[in-house]
C-alpha cells in the first residue's frame, strides 16, 4: 500500500477545509478574504519556519512568540521616536538574533533541556515586555514600514514573496547542502551524530540563532502590519507555530523536517481560524478543532508506524 506523505495528507486536509468553507460561506472565496488570510499567515509562517528547524534539531522553543514580542519593541520604539524606517526594520532581526543567542547559550552552553530553558526564557521575555513597555503600549505607530506590505508584485503582496523566498532558502539549505543532513542527524540522535564527526554544539547553537533571526524578521513585519506592541504580543504564536510544524511533518522527537509541510500547516491553521469565524461557530470551538486535528494527525501517524513495524516482523 503506498503511504500517503504528510505533505499530501495536509494538502488534502487544506483542500477539504477550503471546499467546506466555500460551500458554507459566500465570503470565504473572495479576494479580500483570501488576501486577509494570506497576510495573517506571515508572522506565523516565519516563526513556524524557525520552530521547524529547532524541532528538526531535536529541540523545541516555546519562547519564540514572546521573543518576537521583545524584538517588536526594538522595532516599535525607534519608529515612535521617528528614527529612519530602515533602522527600525533592521532592529527586529538584530534583536531576534541576540535573543536566539541567549537561548543557544542556555541550551547548548548551560546543557539545559530545551523545553525547560525556553519555558524559563518565556517568563523572562514576558517580564521584559512588561518592563520595557512600562505599562504604556506602543500603539498607532507611524506608517513608516508600509512599503514592506503595500503594493502588489505579480498579483501578490511582496511580503508573501519574501516569505516564499525564505522558505526556498531553508529548503535548499536542508536538502542541497551538507548542513541539512547534519542538522537532521543531530536531531535524530546527538551521540550518533557526534560519533559521525558532526559538531553538535555548533549545529544546535546555529539553529537557535537562525530561528531567532526568523523571529526577529517576524517582529519587523508584525510591527509593520499591526503598528502596535502590547504586553501580550506573540503570546500564543509559539504554540501555533509548533502545531503548524508538527502538522506539517516535524517530529517532536527530532530528526524530521518538511519545509512544504510546515508552510501548508501554517495555511491550514489560519484557514481554519478564518473559516470558523465566517461560519459563526462559537469562539471556544477554535481551540477544540485545532487540538483535535493535531491529536488525530499524530495518532494516525503512530498507528501507521505501528502497522509498518507489524508487517516487518510478520
Amino acid at each position: 500500500m503506498p503511504r500517503l506523505s504528510r505533505e499530501a495528507a495536509i494538502a488534502l486536509a487544506l483542500i477539504a477545509a477550503c471546499a467546506l468553507f466555500m460551500l458554507t460561506s459566500p465570503y470565504f472565496a473572495t479576494a479580500g478574504n483570501l488576501l486577509a488570510v494570506g497576510r495573517r499567515c506571515v508572522d506565523l509562517a516565519l516563526i513556524a519556519l524557525g520552530e521547524m528547524l529547532v524541532l528538526a534539531a531535536g529541540g523545541i522553543d516555546v519562547s519564540a512568540g514572546v521573543a518576537m514580542g521583545v524584538a517588536s519593541i526594538a522595532v516599535g520604539k525607534p519608529l515612535q521616536a521617528g528614527a529612519p524606517a530602515a533602522l527600525a526594520a533592521l532592529a527586529g532581526p538584530v534583536v531576534g538574533i541576540a535573543l536566539g543567542g541567549v537561548a543557544a547559550l542556555a541550551i547548548v552552553g548551560g546543557q539545559m533541556p530545551p523545553i525547560v530553558a525556553t519555558l524559563g526564557l518565556w517568563g523572562v521575555w514576558r517580564a521584559a515586555l512588561y518592563l520595557l513597555l512600562g505599562g504604556q503600549w506602543l500603539s498607532g505607530l507611524p506608517r513608516a514600514l508600509d512599503p514592506l506590505l503595500q503594493g502588489v508584485m505579480f498579483g501578490i503582496p511582496p511580503v508573501l514573496l519574501g516569505i516564499a523566498a525564505l522558505y526556498c532558502i531553508v529548503w535548499l539549505v536542508l536538502r542541497r547542502t551538507p548542513a541539512g543532513p547534519r542538522l537532521l542527524a543531530v536531531g535524530g540522535g546527538e551521540d550518533a551524530a557526534r560519533r559521525a564527526g558532526i559538531n553538535v554544539v555548533r549545529t544546535k547553537a546555529l539553529v537557535y540563532v537562525a530561528a531567532g533571526a526568523l523571529n526577529g524578521i517576524a517582529a519587523t513585519i508584525y510591527v509593520a502590519q499591526y503598528r502596535n506592541v502590547e504586553m501580550t504580543t506573540g503570546g500564543t504564536l509559539a504554540l501555533d507555530a509548533i502545531v503548524a510544524a508538527v502538522l506539517g511533518g516535524c517530529s517532536v522527537s527530532g530528526g524530521e523536517a518538511s519545509v512544504l509541510g510546515t508552510a501548508l500547516g501554517v495555511v491550514l491553521l489560519r484557514v481554519l481560524q478564518n473559516g470558523m469565524v465566517l461560519l459563526g461557530l462559537p469562539s471556544l470551538w477554535t481551540g477544540v478543532v485545532e487540538g483535535t486535528l493535531l491529536v488525530l494527525v499524530l495518532a494516525i501517524e503512530s498507528l501507521a508506524a505501528l502497522r509498518r513495524a507489524g508487517w516487518r516482523t510478520a
Partner: protein
C-alpha cells in the same frame, strides 16, 4: 563569619531591625509638621500611566483643598510590599490612607489596628468589600459601563444594526459582566440591534485583528465593533483601518485614550468608554478629607471642582465617581493614560 553562612532569618531580622529604625525615625517627625492634614493613596503599582493619572488628580485636589497628598506604592504589584507601605504610613500618623487593594485578606487586620490609632483606611479603585472600610471610591459601575457603550454606539450607527463583540479571555469576570449589561441594554431599549455572540481573542491584538477582520467579512452589513478587553483595542482599530471600513464600521471599546488615540483620530474608532483616573484620584483625596474631618457622606455630594454631584450608597459604602467617561477625537488629547 563568612557571609554565605549568615542564616537567612538572622539576615532578615537585621533588615527588619533597620527598617524598624528607619520607620521610627520617620515616625518621630511630627505628622503635623507640614501644618496640613495628610491623605495618602497607595496604588497597586507605581510608574504606570493609569496610576500616574490618579496621582495627578490627587495632587490637584490636594492643592485645591489644602491637603498634603502622599502618593506611594509598590514597584511590582506585590501585596506584601503594599502592606508594608500601608504600615509605614500608619506609623507616620497619616490620618486617612486610601488603598487600591491588591490582596483584601491581608489588609483586613491592618485596618483594625489602624482604627485603634485613630487612622482611617479606605479603598479606592480596587475594593476590599468585607474589610469594614468606611468607603470605597469606585470608578464606574459595571452596569453604566455596559449601558453607556451601547447607548453611545446607537447614537452613531442607529438602533437597527449588527454589532460584533471582540473580548479577551472567555473567563474574565469583569468583561463578561460588561457584555451581559450590553445585551441587557440592547434587549430592553434597542430591539432591532443585533449583538453577535462574543468572540474571544485571548490577550493578543493580533488575534483581535484577525477576528475583527473575519467578522467584517462574514457580516458585510456590520456597523459596529466593540473591543471589550483593553488588549483587543489596537487589533480592532487596526482591522477597521486595514479593511478600508472607516466610516462604515464604528469601532469602540473600553480603551484608554493613549491606546485608542490614533484610532480615534483616524476615524476607525468613533469613541471609547472608560473612566477618568485623574478624576478618581481627585475624588479619593476629597473623600480622605471628609473622613479626617468626620464629615459623613450624603446620598448626593457636591464636590468642589467636579461638574456632577457624586452619589454615595450607604448600604454598600460605595462613593461612585459617576457615569463612565466617553473619549472621542475631540477630547482625547486632554488625557494621558
Amino acid at each position: 563569619m563568612p557571609r554565605s553562612r549568615l542564616p537567612l532569618h538572622r539576615a532578615a531580622r537585621r533588615i527588619g531591625a533597620a527598617a524598624l529604625l528607619a520607620a521610627t525615625m520617620t515616625a518621630t517627625l511630627p505628622a503635623w509638621a507640614a501644618g496640613k492634614p495628610q491623605v495618602a493613596f497607595v496604588p497597586q503599582i507605581v510608574g504606570i500611566p493609569y496610576f500616574n493619572a490618579m496621582q495627578a488628580g490627587g495632587n490637584k485636589a490636594a492643592a485645591e483643598f489644602g491637603i498634603k497628598f502622599i502618593y506611594t506604592g509598590p514597584v511590582d504589584a506585590n501585596p506584601v510590599d503594599q502592606l508594608q507601605i500601608v504600615n509605614n504610613l500608619i506609623d507616620q500618623g497619616v490620618k486617612a490612607i486610601a488603598v487600591s487593594v491588591l490582596d483584601a485578606s491581608s489588609l483586613e487586620p491592618v485596618m483594625a489596628s489602624a482604627r485603634a490609632k485613630g487612622i482611617t483606611i479606605f479603598t479606592s479603585d480596587s475594593d476590599a468589600p468585607k474589610s469594614g472600610r468606611p468607603v470605597f471610591v469606585a470608578q464606574a459601575s459595571d452596569q453604566d459601563l455596559g449601558f453607556t457603550i451601547i447607548d453611545e454606539l446607537v447614537k452613531r450607527i442607529g438602533p437597527d444594526a449588527t454589532v460584533g463583540i471582540v473580548s479577551g479571555a472567555a473567563t474574565a469576570t469583569n468583561l463578561n459582566t460588561w457584555i451581559g449589561f450590553m445585551k441587557q441594554r440592547a434587549a430592553a431599549k434597542y430591539p432591532k440591534l443585533t449583538l453577535l455572540a462574543p468572540r474571544y481573542a485571548g490577550g493578543s491584538a493580533e488575534q483581535a485583528a484577525q477576528i475583527a477582520t473575519d467578522l467584517m467579512t462574514a457580516h458585510p452589513d456590520l456597523k459596529g465593533l466593540i473591543a471589550v478587553a483593553s488588549t483587543t483595542c489596537p487589533g480592532v482599530g487596526q482591522a477597521i483601518e486595514s479593511a478600508g471600513k472607516i466610516g462604515s464600521v464604528v469601532g469602540t471599546g473600553y480603551c484608554s485614550p493613549n491606546t485608542a488615540r490614533s484610532y480615534l483620530k483616524s476615524g476607525a474608532f468613533g469613541f471609547t468608554v472608560l473612566w477618568d483616573p485623574a478624576a478618581l484620584g481627585y475624588l479619593t483625596v476629597w473623600a480622605g478629607q471628609q473622613l479626617i474631618e468626620h464629615k459623613p457622606f450624603a446620598a448626593e455630594n457636591m464636590v468642589p471642582g467636579m461638574a456632577n454631584p457624586v452619589s454615595f450608597d450607604a448600604a454598600t459604602g460605595v462613593l461612585l465617581l459617576g457615569p463612565p467617561a466617553v473619549f472621542t477625537k475631540a477630547n482625547v488629547d486632554q488625557f494621558n493614560f
